[in-house]
Amino acid sequence: MKFTLQVWRQKGPNAAGKLERYDAPDVSPDMSFLEMLDVVNERLNERGEEPIAFAHDCREGICGSCSLMIDGVAHGPVRGAATCQVHMRSFTDGATIRIEPWRARAFPVIKDLVVDREALDRIVQAGGYISVPTGSAPDANAIPIPKQNVDDAMDAASCIGCGACVAACPNASASLFTAAKVSHLGLLPQGQPERYRRVTRMVEQMDLEGFGGCTLYGECQEACPKLISIDTIARMNRDYFRGAAFARTESTAGGSG
């Protein structure tokens, strides 16, 4: 197979970028999309030109590093797959393929196709955890959890933090990412003590980072490589309103003794 690529090249965060054209001849249909880019890069490198920078690591759809807009679609044409799991057999021979980075105000471009996604970590820092210092846990079977709850929690917890939901959203909202974590922890008995505090803080942080609001376009669940449902967003909104309605002032008093 052979392809023409239109690739976004941008020297650095403050440089102007533009689409550049590259040829990809001799592509095997069994190559993954990233292996096709490897071959293009190898050729650029042999000519002493700078290879195209793109984020990648595990190449099996779980680390969440890869992040390409392929013909305007986050992670490309295969439903429920990350860029690294897309193979060239999914494209028409001879096609021109446009490759761009995630585009969102909260994800500044570092170079070429690599963007800065630390805003997602800061949303987790705001409350995306259960506070359980090492050593303080009861026996693992002490609290039975209905299988359905765990299965639903696992569906939400399978988020790989790639940011495709943000890139696909016309508002660049991180609602699906945030809601997935809120749902994962909120569905489990262990997550109940911090449930409303968690959702309130995470949603506030999401706004502070410059992500847009959710207006239920639903593009995020289509782009999600783990097919996480926007039902999680409904759950997040419900918890958020409950949290807001029943919020009490947090007060602490010094210990006695």
Partner: protein, 637 residues
């Protein structure tokens, strides 16, 4: 160099308890005065950084990823072992200990393994409390499955994404501590050297991968949890960026490297399909719970699998190892696959593959049950190969997966360099010559959550540590050396790419230091590796500059280290004139082709001291005593 294992005295069941009591504590107010560097944020590093911070230490934590959540532990599929005996099938701490020592072919330290088995139960408790959604039965209690090398069901799992869920647990604990201010996180930052002051590990030199800035960081102790060196083979199931640079640079600074030839070749991976192949994909060992492994009985049989009648199939694992069958340990299953392929009975276009067939299991349990158990793995397989494993058997072949060798550590997980601690896959301690499935996650979390938080306190409380800042000449010298290496790589402007060298090195190692090794092949490799290294430093082309994101430069530094490390790996493999676990020397096998240990000569961990690039390393031996699990020929028949 002296190897002091610091194994506590007393019966094995009491060693860790006694040691925990005897170790010195650092009082809470004093913990605030100490700074600890943690490099790596996988299961071991992430859990260590979070726990040390919870205890009150100041933690500086480093990851070359853009987020700590992306470390390669995330990709572990099948599960985590723990001696909970929830299945009432005869498991116990002692049995997990026994299985692990035997599975490692008697080349691990008993005391460490026993502690690992003891702690395993606490890990599951901790992870459930964090919200790890382990699989459960309808009654709400935890489910288990079996893994290779065990006859009990002790593996806890979260679909085929156990590593991901455990890592997210550790990551969330880490993010909690970052928010609280106990951990300062450095993303996109790669460690490029270790700094010693007065012989103690006191800091590191790093490169900011987004700006190219070379920086120095000082601390009271350094913890490396930077993973294994499987990518020295170029093709492996490791993530593309996994590398040995941190442990190799520490080795060059004086930390002994133990058993580098102990590498694990995982039996169930998707076979190589072309030269462009960038990595190999693992199919979880859990598939062997229900899949049956076979090849045609006749060599050169090119019929489609469905056309080969039952009588003409060889279910070779079930035939050779009737009591463990398809759940034979990894080293044994891998070698058996190689053997049948060498006989010309391999399947698929290249002939380097065997079938993993679910037809019987689907008949027995129905497609839906199989879908529930392995749905995501089947999907992954279909996506890569374009074949539907519900209808045609999977094709699998062994691939490099894990490295049991690593920096030598004592019982406290401290290397031969005072203050330098090493956790997880980066150390050598618990798996001997072969790791059992679902034990890597267990070890990473045991080291990070439950061992280092105690043992590092003992080191800090017992050691006189002067105040050290990065203005010290040791830091400045290391920093300029690191900058010098980068400039040298960029200045070569040769004809070949970094990947071309890496692939060449990988081919040498796969051929001569892979699943089966012999003296002639290893000697050949030891001649070829220095030649490749010499050409690398003369003819590599690293484009771009040092002052920006430069992925070619990152790779170049890592491959330069692999080119040095590979020689040590082959030297170790050549010196160990026996077969054990993943290290199979063709000269040393039983009449029926099994690994033949030489306990009289090789019941020791080989810890190598660096003597200079291209110079013969110095061997130190830590004798291993088997006081509880008697040395026997390992049999799974």
């Amino acid at each position: 160099m002296e190897l002091r294992s610091r194994i506590p005295s007393g019966p094995i069941e009491q060693k860790w308890d006694t040691h925990r009591f005897e170790m010195k504590l650092v009082n809470p107010a004093n913990k605030r005065k100490y700074t600890v560097i943690v490099v790596g944020t996988g299961l071991a590093g992430g859990s260590a950084a979070a726990t040390l911070s919870e205890l009150g230490y100041n933690v500086l934590c480093f990851s070359f990823h853009d987020s700590p959540r992306r470390a390669h532990s995330i990709a572990a599929q099948g599960g985590i072992n723990a001696a909970k005996n929830y299945q009432n099938d005869g498991d116990s701490i002692y049995r997990l200990f026994y299985d692990t020592v035997k599975g490692g072919d008697f080349r691990a330290r008993e005391a460490n393994v026993y502690r690992l088995a003891q702690i395993s139960v606490n890990i599951i408790d901790q992870c459930v409390a964090q919200g790890v959604p382990f699989a459960r039965e309808y009654g709400g209690l935890l489910a288990n499955r079996s893994f290779g090398g065990a006859q009990v069901s002790r593996t806890f799992y979260a679909r085929g994404q156990t590593g991901q869920q455990l890592l997210l647990g550790a990551y969330q604990a880490l993010e909690k501590e970052i928010a609280r201010g106990g951990v300062r996180m450095f993303n996109n930052t790669e460690m490029l050297d270790l700094v010693l002051v007065d012989g103690k590990a006191r800091g590191i030199v790093t490169r900011d991968l987004t700006t190219g800035a070379i920086e120095t960081h000082a601390a009271d102790a350094v913890v490396l949890a930077t993973g294994g060196y499987g990518n020295v083979f170029y093709l492996s199931t490791n993530a593309k960026n996994c590398n040995a640079t941190a442990i190799w640079r520490a080795h060059k600074r004086g930390a002994a490297f133990a058993n580098p030839c102990f590498t694990q070749i995982h039996p169930t991976c998707i076979p190589v399909s072309g030269d462009y192949q960038s990595k190999l994909t693992l199919m979880s060992e859990s598939l062997r719970n229900d899949g049956r492994v076979w090849v045609p009985k006749a060599a050169g049989d090119k019929r489609a699998p469905g056309d080969i009648p039952e009588a003409e199939r060889d279910y070779y694992l079930e035939r050779k190892y009737p009591s463990y069958g398809n759940l034979s340990p990894r080293d044994i299953a891998s070698r058996a696959a190689k053997e049948v392929c060498d006989e010309g009975r391999g399947v698929g276009e290249t002939g380097r593959g065997v079938y993993l067939d679910f037809a019987d299991a689907i008949k027995r349990l129905g497609e839906q049950r199989i879908r529930d158990r392995y749905g995501n793995l089947f999907e992954m397989y279909e996506r890569i190969t374009d074949e539907n494993p519900y209808q045609v058997p999977m094709r699998i072949y062994p691939a490099v997966h894990y490295t049991m060798g690593g920096l030598w550590v004592d019982y406290n997980l401290m290397s031969t360099l005072p203050g330098l601690h090493v956790l997880g896959e980066a150390n050598f301690s618990d798996h001997g010559a072969n790791r059992l499935g679902a034990s890597a996650l267990m070890q990473g979390l045991a080291d990070g959550y439950f061992i280092i938080p105690y043992t590092i306190g003992d080191y800090l409380a017992n050691t006189k540590l002067d105040k050290v800042t990065v203005d010290r000449p040791e830091f400045q010298a290391a920093k300029s050396a690191v900058a010098g290496t980068a400039n040298r790589l960029l200045g070569i402007k040769g004809k070949r790419t970094v990947d071309a060298f890496h692939r060449e090195l990988g081919t040498i190692l796969w051929e001569d230091c892979g699943m089966a090794r012999n003296a002639a092949g290893l000697k050949r490799a030891l001649e070829r590796i220095p030649a490749v290294r010499e050409e690398f430093w003369r003819n590599v082309n690293v484009p771009g500059s040092d002052a920006e994101l430069n992925q070619a430069l990152e790779k170049a530094g890592r491959v330069a280290d692999f080119l040095e490390f590979a020689e040590l790996m082959c030297t170790d493999a050549l010196h160990r004139e026996e077969s054990c676990g993943g290290h199979f020397r063709e000269e040393y096998q039983t009449p029926d082709g099994e690994a033949q240990r030489d306990d009289a000569r090789f019941t020791y961990a080989a810890a190598w001291e660096f003597a200079g690039v291209g110079k013969a390393p110095i061997l130190h031996k830590e004798p291993l005593a088997f006081e509880n699990v008697p040395l026997t020929q390992r049999s799974y028949k």
